[in-house]
Each structure stands twice: as structure tokens, then as C-alpha cells.
């Protein structure tokens, strides 16, 4: 470790809030903020967004009819992914009728990851009052221990812009790496040299490869990771093997997930669900097949309204994301809701009446050495299928897999109750479907 490595001490449990007032605000106060922002947003979005205006007109509802959150959840129409897609294709509008700015006024046009199809364009306006509030990720980084003077490992992509500016806004120094297995030897070296305190973000692929790289470099992964107070994981949920590796290395990890494309949610140090920031997003939790709310603690679909986004706000957007939600006060003292993701409506297949989601298959796949990276896809030509077909990535050559297909089939049958048909392919074939932090877990063919 060089003298440059001056990691801060472990985070003080009493100093965990970046913005104590907002983060611990009583829920009645949060609702007041939401209501004020919502009533400001609705006429704005109705006037500027062609899709929202036509959707509301078709439903016979006008923003002046809405005077409260209760009015909104009772009367406002939904926006669906299909509606956005249809508007985009029929009107040749790459923003699906949601853009509230003139295109020429935009600073940047970034994009989503595009794991399950063409990336969605994300128009951005940087700076200025009309741009909306800054992303809240800085609250999470503060919670997991980022402080001025720390080094912070940023191991990601470029396509969503300069998230590292949030790290710098806390006075920390980013250490830049690509989210690629080929960067892991350098990750090892820089972690030992600079002793970063936090990392954003790790994925199943990187964690699995780090174990192998450390072995090759003859270094102890526990030494490599010793300075990290927290590692944010995202893209997809960690598999059991990744969790076990991080646990063995003594690493505290913090799950990070999207909130229906309207924000993000991250675990706090209580590890009791991912907080979503309700001062910037209104989250409803509805019956996936209906319009009624489901009780906290049960699985429902996230329906979101982006309260601070003035560029391309989602208004009552049905996300297809399934999650369990609670709005009970967290052990950390925060009052904002928490969620645990369960999957996507579009990922489920029904085989002989049995529901199978990717997470039902995951552990069965990653338990074998050849398939330890947990790379697989469910082949889903339609929601209901006659047989469960899986494409599974394996390490090594095709001639070295032996009876792997039979072992996998038996393991999946045990975990799902359905005997699958397995197609084995090299890991590289699936990783090529990247971005490399995750692959599409469902494919049509």
C-alpha cells in the first residue's frame, strides 16, 4: 500500500444521512411534497407531452380534474411500454411522445442499457432550473460511507453519463475502470494501491471473474477488498455464488436497482430492502393484472411517476417490474419506501401451469463449476409454453462438458418442478449479448 492510499475510516453509524431532513421526514410531510410536485407536473406534462395529452384526452381526464394524490390514483390513466412503443413507431418519434422539450434544447441524449432490446433514448438537459433535481444517488453513496478524501472505484460504462460527478461532489476521488473482466488485474492493483472505500458497481460476471483473477495473480481477494466499506451491485440481482464469494471476502454489498425507469433504489446498511426516494418519485404498487393497489409486503407491479423529471417525465407508467414493497420506517431511520425486486412480468413463463422466473433457475445453473458464471437464458416464444427451454453458457470447450447437460437438467427440474431442454453454448456467446454486467435472461428464440 502506497502513502497515497489514505482511505477514510469506517463510516460512523451516527453520521449516515446526506440530507437528514428529507431522508427521515415523516410520511405526511413526504406526501405533501409529492402532492405539490405532482400537481405542478401534471399540467406541464399534459401541455408538452403528446402521448400524455392523447392518453388523458382518450380517458376523458384533464389535469384540472386532479387536486390530490387520491384523485390521481383514482382517475389518471396509465402509460404503458406498449403505448410508448406504438407512438414511437407510428409517429417516428424516438422519444415515444414523452419529450417535453424542443429537441434542440437538449444537452445530451444518452440511453438505457438495452439489455432486452434496442436501448431507450434518455434526453437530458444539464443545469438550469428546468432540468429538474439532481439524481439522488449521492444519498446512497454517503450512507455506505463515501467521505471527502476517499478514493472511490467507478467500474462502469459511459452510456449513462457522468455519474462520477456525484462521487466528486462528496469530495471523493474516482478511480476509473471499465466494467470488463479484462480490467480486473488492474482493479486488483489499484485497490491495493489506493485503498478505495466504495465501489460502483459490481456484477455477477465481475465477481466470478475476480475470484479467478486473484487466484492467477496469487493475491488474497480479502486483502484486495479489505478497504471497501461498501460495494454497490447492480444490473441484475446477485446469484448465490456471487453472494457467497463477497461474504467470504468480508465485503458488505448493497443492492441497487431501477424503480420502473423513473429512478433508482439502493439498500442501506440495514440491508432490509432498497430505498426509493419518494420526494422524487411517486410509486404505486398495483395488482399486475389489474388496477387495484396490493398490500405492502406482497408482490405487485411498480407504477411510477417521475416527480422531478421535466425533460421526459413518466406519468403513471406501468413498468412491468414486479416487487415487494414496504413503507414501514426502516431500521436506519429513513421513512422512504423500500422494495425488493422479484422480476419482470415479461420474464415469466408458464409450463404446464407452473410459473418459472429466471431466479428460479439461477441457483441450479451456477452450482456446477462449468456454469458457475450463471449465464443462461429462458427461451420464451410466448408466455405459455409446452416445455421449458434453457440456453446455458459454459466454460471450457464443448468436448469437455461431459454429462453437464444431464446434471443441469436434473438440478433445474428439482428447483422448478419442470424438466427442461438444455442447449449448451460457450460463455462468450452469451456475454456477447451484453452489456457485460448482465445479459438478457429471456430470449424469444
Amino acid at each position: 500500500m502506497s502513502e497515497a492510499a489514505t482511505a477514510g475510516g469506517a463510516p460512523d453509524a451516527g453520521d449516515r444521512y446526506f440530507d437528514r431532513e428529507i431522508e427521515t421526514m415523516p410520511r405526511a410531510g413526504l406526501r405533501e411534497i409529492q402532492e405539490a410536485k405532482l400537481l405542478d407536473l401534471l399540467p406541464y406534462a399534459y401541455e408538452r407531452s403528446a402521448l400524455i395529452r392523447s392518453t388523458w384526452d382518450d380517458a376523458g381526464v384533464h389535469p384540472r380534474d386532479i387536486t390530490s394524490i387520491d384523485d390521481y390514483t383514482e382517475r389518471a390513466p396509465f402509460i404503458s411500454k406498449d403505448a410508448i412503443r406504438v407512438f414511437r413507431d407510428e409517429r417516428h418519434d424516438p422519444y415515444g411522445g414523452l419529450l417535453c422539450f424542443e429537441e434542440a434544447e437538449l444537452t445530451a441524449i444518452t440511453s438505457t442499457s438495452g439489455t432486452t432490446g434496442d436501448p431507450t433514448l434518455v434526453p437530458e438537459v444539464w443545469g438550469g432550473a428546468r432540468a429538474g433535481a439532481a439524481p439522488a444517488l449521492v444519498r446512497e453513496f454517503y450512507e455506505i460511507g463515501t467521505r471527502a478524501g476517499d478514493y472511490f472505484t467507478c467500474i462502469l460504462f459511459t452510456f449513462r453519463g457522468a455519474f462520477f460527478a456525484l462521487v466528486q461532489s462528496l469530495g471523493a476521488v474516482p478511480v476509473f475502470l471499465d466494467h470488463s473482466p479484462s480490467e480486473l488485474p488492474r482493479f486488483v492493483e489499484l485497490s491495493l494501491e489506493y485503498r478505495p472505500t466504495n465501489l460502483y458497481n459490481f456484477s455477477n460476471v465481475l465477481i466470478s471473474e475476480l475470484a479467478r483473477v486473484c487466484e492467477e495473480m496469487a493475491v488474497d481477494p480479502r486483502d484486495v477488498m479489505a478497504s471497501y466499506h461498501g460495494v454497490v451491485t447492480g444490473g441484475e440481482q446477485l446469484g448465490r455464488r456471487s453472494q457467497e464469494l463477497l461474504h467470504d471476502w468480508g465485503v458488505a454489498w448493497f443492492e441497487h436497482t431501477a424503480v420502473g425507469d423513473a429512478g433508482a433504489a439502493t439498500e442501506c446498511r440495514e440491508h432490509d430492502g432498497c430505498h426509493f426516494w419518494e420526494d422524487s418519485v411517486l410509486v404505486e404498487h398495483l395488482d399486475p393484472d389489474g388496477t387495484e393497489p396490493v398490500a405492502d409486503g406482497t408482490r405487485g407491479e411498480l407504477v411510477v411517476t417521475a416527480l422531478d423529471n421535466r425533460v421526459m417525465p413518466l406519468v403513471r407508467f406501468r413498468s412491468d417490474d414486479l416487487a415487494d414493497i414496504t413503507r414501514e420506517r426502516c431500521g436506519c431511520g429513513r421513512t422512504h419506501g423500500r422494495l425488493r425486486t422479484a422480476g419482470r412480468k415479461g420474464d415469466e413463463v408458464i409450463v404446464d401451469g407452473r410459473s418459472v422466473l429466471p431466479r428460479d433457475v439461477w441457483e441450479a445453473v451456477e452450482q456446477f463449476d462449468e456454469t458457475a458464471m450463471g449465464l443462461f437464458q429462458i427461451i420464451r416464444p410466448s408466455m405459455e409454453v409446452d416445455q421449458l427451454r434453457l440456453r446455458v453458457g459454459h466454460a471450457g470447450s464443448a468436448s469437455s462438458v461431459g454429462d453437464l447437460e444431464d446434471r443441469l437438467a436434473a438440478a433445474v427440474a428439482e428447483s422448478t418442478g419442470v424438466v427442461p431442454v438444455i442447449e449448451l453454448v460457450p460463455n462468450e456467446d452469451l456475454l456477447r449479448l451484453g452489456p457485460p454486467h448482465k445479459i438478457p435472461r429471456v430470449a424469444k428464440r
Binding site: A108, I109, S111, Y151, Q168, G171, V173, P174, D178
Partner: protein
């Protein structure tokens, strides 16, 4: 190159490529401010200005060189999009160019072209209508061989040199950098103190240095790759 400055004065820990070797180096906040000034000149050299749209291809490990480019575009009211300069992410480059018009694509490298090859996209089709194709070594030649007219976008260690419309070599900001050719090896030196010492750095680029004033009027030295 290990950081010796206090963390409070550092902007970040970046990296650059010398051939296939990745060199890690510290960047101070003062370095970063000067890199933005250089990037503003480079954007001007491209001919990008208010109302234009540019697609920037880079990797996060290169943020120290490429974030200043984005700031320069922002300052110049040039709209921009971002994609990784990787084989995996070439589909994103193709998606952007399919979805809207771009006046320039900068930072094109061999990995992106490999990815476009994987996707079966001929370069002439993907880049059709783009005014300026600013390409790195390894990609410039392939675009030229495909009948396109790229300009050099040269990674010279921590510096970037950019070719203007005259196609007479890549300009390097003389306020910040000195450049020389040592038997065809291009060497780079910083004119001001930086967090990382850059003194006759062998950039891995083979080329000649031209010091005549360019027909575009710029007096900066130009690197003409061999």
C-alpha cells in the same frame, strides 16, 4: 504512476493506452481544467459548434481524456450522445446513428468497427450522412479502405490530437503539450507541471511532426501518422 498529491487536489485516477499497455495516472483538478481548455480547441478543430450533434465513443477508464471533451461540447452548445468504444457496445453506436442525425462521431476505434462487423453493418451504411468521422489508429485505416474520408483522432498518451478539415495531420494543443518524433516514435511532453510527470513519453504512435502553420490557420504542431 502513483498519485503523490493530496486527495483534495485530485480530480481522479485515470488511464491511457500505450499500444496495448494500460498506464494508470493521477489527474489533478488543475490538470482537468487545462484539459477542458484543450478539448474546447479540439472541438473547434472538428468544426463542431452550436446546433450540431456529436456521438462520443470512449471507455470510462479514459474519463480523464474524454470527460473534458463532453464538457467542451456542453460549453459549445453542441448536443452529444455517448457509447462505449467497445465491441460489445457497437450496437449502441449503430442504434444512435439509425435514430438521428449526427454531425460527427469521435473516438471511433478498431473495437467498435469489429462490433459493427459482428452485426453485419457495413461502415458506409452506418456512418452514412455523418459529416466528420474522427477515428483512432487502427480504425482510421479501415474506414479509409472502406471508401470513407475519416479524420485522425489520435490518442497520444493522456493527450488527444485532432485533425482539421485540411486532412494534413492531427493538431496538438501547443499551450499544453510538446511533441517530437524520435526516429518515427512520437514523444509527448507536458509544458506545465502535472500530477503525473509526462516527459518525452513514448506514445506508441509512429509518425512525423509538422510545425508549419496549417492551411486552417492553426499554428499548433501536427502529428502525421506513418
Amino acid at each position: 504512476m502513483t498519485a503523490t498529491l493530496d486527495a483534495a487536489t485530485l480530480w481522479g485516477i485515470g488511464s491511457f493506452l500505450i499500444g496495448d499497455e494500460v498506464v494508470t495516472y493521477p489527474v489533478s483538478k488543475a490538470d482537468h481544467d487545462r484539459d477542458i481548455a484543450t478539448a474546447i480547441k479540439n472541438v473547434s478543430c472538428l468544426g463542431a459548434g452550436a446546433g450540431h450533434r456529436v456521438l462520443v465513443l470512449s471507455m470510462l477508464s479514459q474519463a480523464a481524456q474524454y470527460w473534458p471533451v463532453q464538457i467542451a461540447l456542453l460549453v459549445g452548445n453542441v448536443q452529444f450522445s455517448l457509447a462505449d468504444a467497445s465491441r460489445f457496445d457497437a450496437f449502441r453506436t449503430a442504434m444512435f446513428l439509425r435514430a438521428m442525425h449526427y454531425d460527427a462521431v469521435v473516438g471511433i476505434n478498431a473495437d467498435v468497427l469489429d462490433g459493427l462487423d459482428d452485426l453485419g453493418h457495413p461502415y458506409g451504411g452506418v456512418f452514412d450522412g455523418v459529416g466528420v468521422l474522427a477515428a483512432r489508429a487502427g480504425a482510421y485505416e479501415r474506414l479509409r479502405d472502406a471508401g470513407l474520408s475519416p479524420r485522425w483522432w489520435l490518442d497520444l498518451g493522456p493527450a488527444i490530437a485532432v485533425e482539421c478539415a485540411e486532412h494534413a495531420g492531427a493538431h496538438l494543443d501547443a499551450d499544453e503539450w510538446a511533441v517530437e518524433s524520435d526516429g518515427g516514435d512520437v514523444l509527448l511532453s507536458a509544458r506545465h507541471e502535472r500530477a503525473a510527470s509526462i516527459d518525452r513519453l513514448r506514445t506508441g504512435v509512429r509518425g512525423d511532426v509538422v510545425t508549419d502553420v496549417c492551411a486552417c490557420g492553426r499554428a499548433d504542431p501536427r502529428v502525421v501518422p506513418r
